[in-house]
Symmetry: C2
Subunit: 420 residues, 2 copies
Amino acid sequence: MGVTTVSEVEQKARQAREAARLLASAPTGVKNAALLGMADAIVAEKADLLSANAIDVAAAREKGISDALIDRLSLNDKRIEGMAEGLNVVAALPDPIGEVIKGWRRPNGLRIRKVRVPLGVIGIIYESRPNVTADAAALCLKAGNACVLRGGTDAINSNKAIADVLMKAAQSAGVPANAIQLIETTDRAAANELMRMDKYVDALVPRGGVSLARAVAQNATVPVIFDGGGVCHTFVERTANLKMAEEIAYNAKVQRCSVCNAMETLLVDEPVAREFLPKICGRLAEAGVDIRGCDRTRAIYPAANLATDEDWETEYLALILSIKVVSGVDEAIEHITRHGTRHSECIVTQDYNAARKFEDEVDAACVYVNASTRFTDGYEFGFGAEIGISNQKLHARGPMGLEEITTYKYVINGDGQVRS
Amino acid sequence: MGVTTVSEVEQKARQAREAARLLASAPTGVKNAALLGMADAIVAEKADLLSANAIDVAAAREKGISDALIDRLSLNDKRIEGMAEGLNVVAALPDPIGEVIKGWRRPNGLRIRKVRVPLGVIGIIYESRPNVTADAAALCLKAGNACVLRGGTDAINSNKAIADVLMKAAQSAGVPANAIQLIETTDRAAANELMRMDKYVDALVPRGGVSLARAVAQNATVPVIFDGGGVCHTFVERTANLKMAEEIAYNAKVQRCSVCNAMETLLVDEPVAREFLPKICGRLAEAGVDIRGCDRTRAIYPAANLATDEDWETEYLALILSIKVVSGVDEAIEHITRHGTRHSECIVTQDYNAARKFEDEVDAACVYVNASTRFTDGYEFGFGAEIGISNQKLHARGPMGLEEITTYKYVINGDGQVRS
């Protein structure tokens, strides 16, 4: 028999599991003191964080990484203060743990409480954005979870420096050592190993692009809370206030096009297409949007390119929009059902029955009447924080805040009941 | 290119998906009428069901299947009436769909409702127990879900006959055709295919033994709601009312030993071991329980066999019990944390602080003070129905009733809000 070596991932996951047990019953005051201390420490150690980050940025430049990615990787005074501010905000949020979600008494006298408790250990895999290290650690800690962080390779020096500051500050506030773990091994195998640590990790939150999602789908044995893509639609129904529809559609496409809750397809009810399309298309074109329309759209707005079948299923995350003219709410719902990703869908209408039908029949995390799909967001929903946006149906759907990284247990109090 | 053939599993899963869309907004009255009609039809077609079942039973006998399994496979008048009664009970339960779980208004005027909706299509894989066909179909239907049923091979004729009766009765009450689907292909490949139908199936509920669980863990891409095993403990703390402790422990082990919420390990606090162990062990031995104790247990009750390390982690599902003497609540919690399966754990105590500590620190779906672990059950909890008992932490934990086979969506009503 050779010597058994335990990998970094396994060792840290196991340590996190032990810390999680202690953290589960940590008082709110301890958790909040830790978060405030972490915020102070981040600011106090700014110089060290900036020099660690400078190493990452220099290496990334040498590798020829794109300016956009370098921008996401880079820290500066303002971003470090933003990280600290984020920690303070999480400290100020209500503690989700201990809530009695439901409670009742059975005829035999048993008292049953359904109590909110932490999930335990949460694994987070994310891209090379150092601020996520602080953000994810803070959210996990507030909800009583230990975390195992695995950030992008290019940010490794920044992440090590940030995690080191956070861990020390948390520990000196009384949070168990090992409650915040950073995986320092940067190869892909380490990420894959984390996905399979179901013995120690209770849930995995992948935050990244399509290739991470695919790797998780193929490898993970740890239950996953997924951030899915969004092919979101706005349907302008025949009774819509067309000025309102124009504002909503424009906002959903243009205000920030690179995110999952931006509109990718505009559906326009046939009776208003001739009036509505020239206005919205003109405005979108002015904003630089590449418009791809169905035949009926192009008959009205000839400058549009022809949309292909692929367009209806593409999450552009860019200034591109597909437009289809449909014959009423049924065809709109049909199109959304076939091509949507169950993320965020909107109808603009003044008709009670059309609104009601759309609300009932569209199967999506967020169904909007007369508001931009861009509101699908933990902050906009009032959760005060956001772990991500789920478009899976189990556990959590839509914007996820602190509650969504908790579970519950039943506590049953009796005085000798046995089952007959 | 050859001809594309669509498998039975894929075809039925796709049909179920279409039916699910219609079923999601089916009125409660239609669903209840269908359930009552299904109950009547089951009784009316009793003779046909019995003859189909006779074919299965004869074939099973020929294969030399055990008497216990033949018993589970067999139908008779009473069991058929029991199935019908089960359908009537589900009809009488409140409809979980449409509940506004939460609702609030944002400062910008958006009104957000979190509304309970069906999961969509639920795949259920189960062993050769024909009654599960009716039971599972009823629960799925009540919660607005279409179902794809894949029962055990040995029950195929019974299942076909039952499903046929159910489908016809449901349809004549106005439930969409294809809302209840039975996979008739009995090879293992069909079950594996169902586990990977994530395109059409929203959740998988495996109801069966360890080998099914393993196959699901290896193959499933559909999100799983899992029925896990239970290595459940009862801890008799030093202040316990020992008569109460004896009743609770005896009930937890003996009342029905083959189920997941039965006790597998008894932990006894050292100061009361000498008084408690002879009494409980004598009674358990009389009931035929094979007792396996730690050294300290055997010093007090020498008739016990010696427990091995494996015993502490074994779900016996039989009249076998491991017993360990521990030095207080901390060691008890430590043992449970190390060896338990987070299912159901009990402390018997009169001490407020010990109870509170156990409630807080034991990480399990159900934590009991002074009551038998056998109460972990949807009916005993008052859910009126049970899909299974989960010991996963995501989505559903503990006994699962109708609510646990639903999800939610956010419905957001605005009057033109856009994001700035």
